[in-house]
Amino acid sequence: MSTSLVFFYVYAAVAVAGALGLVFARNLVHAVMSLFATLIAIAALFLLLGSQFLAAMQLFVYGGAITILVLFVLMLTGPRPEAGGRSKEIVRLLSAGLCVVFFGAIAMIIWQAQWRISPSRIHDTASIATILFSRYVLPFEIAGLSLTIALIGAVVLAREDDVIEAMEADADTLAAGAESAAAEVDSA
């Protein structure tokens, strides 16, 4: 067994254990911590694939930002028990069956397929940058724009209602003022 294979099994074990913890932990904080373990393991797997850039991105975006965001929301919404606990037995059985069948099908396809493996492994940050800023520059800009729009939408959604009501009231008074002004112009 090669060294990289040993490391792969270690990271894969951490990732799968974290994923199982995420699904089966009763406490949501524990679930988020399990997700964190999985994300770190996937960052390590990116390193194993030879991409330092993706590993760093995974650590920053997922390990840092998204985990902290989820924990913040968890604390904002309070340590409330998941109303009524878990879902119904039949739903769980059906979902488990579906997932097992799906995994079996994918695994079978993977073992039977013949991939055209290329021997050289050249992956550096510069090659990602080159392709992002040449061939995929328009999708890159669109991705940035859609991220901005989504985050503005998130702020609008999560804002307290009274702020929105105050803005609507302002708009109403403005409209009323405009109408009365129009009426005065008409009478004059």
């Binding site: 090669s2 990289s4 792969f8 894969a12 994923a19 995420l22 699904v23 949501l28 997700l35 999985t38 797997l45 990116f46 194993l48 694939l49 030879g50 991409s51 993706l54 991105m57 975006v61 930002a65 998204i66 965001l69 989820v70 929301v73 919404t77 309070g78 109303a83 009524g84 606990g85 878990r86 879902s87 979902s95 579906l98 997932c99 097992v100 799906f102 994918i106 695994a107 073992w111 991939w115 493996i117 290329s118 050289s120 492994r121 050249i122 992956h123 090659s127 990602i128 080159t130 392709i131 992002l132 995929y136 991705a143 991220l147 989504a150 985050l151 939408g153 998130a154 959604l157 999560a158």
Partner: protein, 103 residues
């Protein structure tokens, strides 16, 4: 025994299925959101593995991972905003008791 593409693909499929099971069976809205994050991560792993093994000279798969990360960040921001809004409006956290999204 050496590390091959199949190892990464099977791991990605396993993570995908675990995340799918969690998203299907969980009743907590927050847990559904993080299970979807797990599914997206499994897809990221697959893309990076294919890119590294099949077409290593051009980092197309790697750049797709970057796009997916951006989309995942947007998705999690919006989803968490919806969770907060639902929590404030209805004082509930279980997704199957949510009947309407408007207002």
């Amino acid at each position: 025994m050496t590390l091959t593409l199949n190892h990464f693909l099977v791991l990605g499929a396993a993570l995908f299925c675990i995340g799918l099971y969690g998203a299907l069976t969980s009743r907590s809205a927050l847990r559904v959101v993080i299970c979807v994050e797990l599914v997206l991560n499994a897809v990221n792993l697959n893309l990076a593995a294919f890119s590294a093994y099949v077409a290593p000279r051009q980092a197309v798969g790697m750049s797709f991972v970057v796009f997916l990360m951006v989309m995942a960040a947007a998705e999690v921001g919006l989803a968490l905003a919806i969770v907060i809004t639902l929590n404030r409006a209805n004082d509930i956290n279980a997704i199957d008791s949510i009947k309407r999204l408007r207002g």
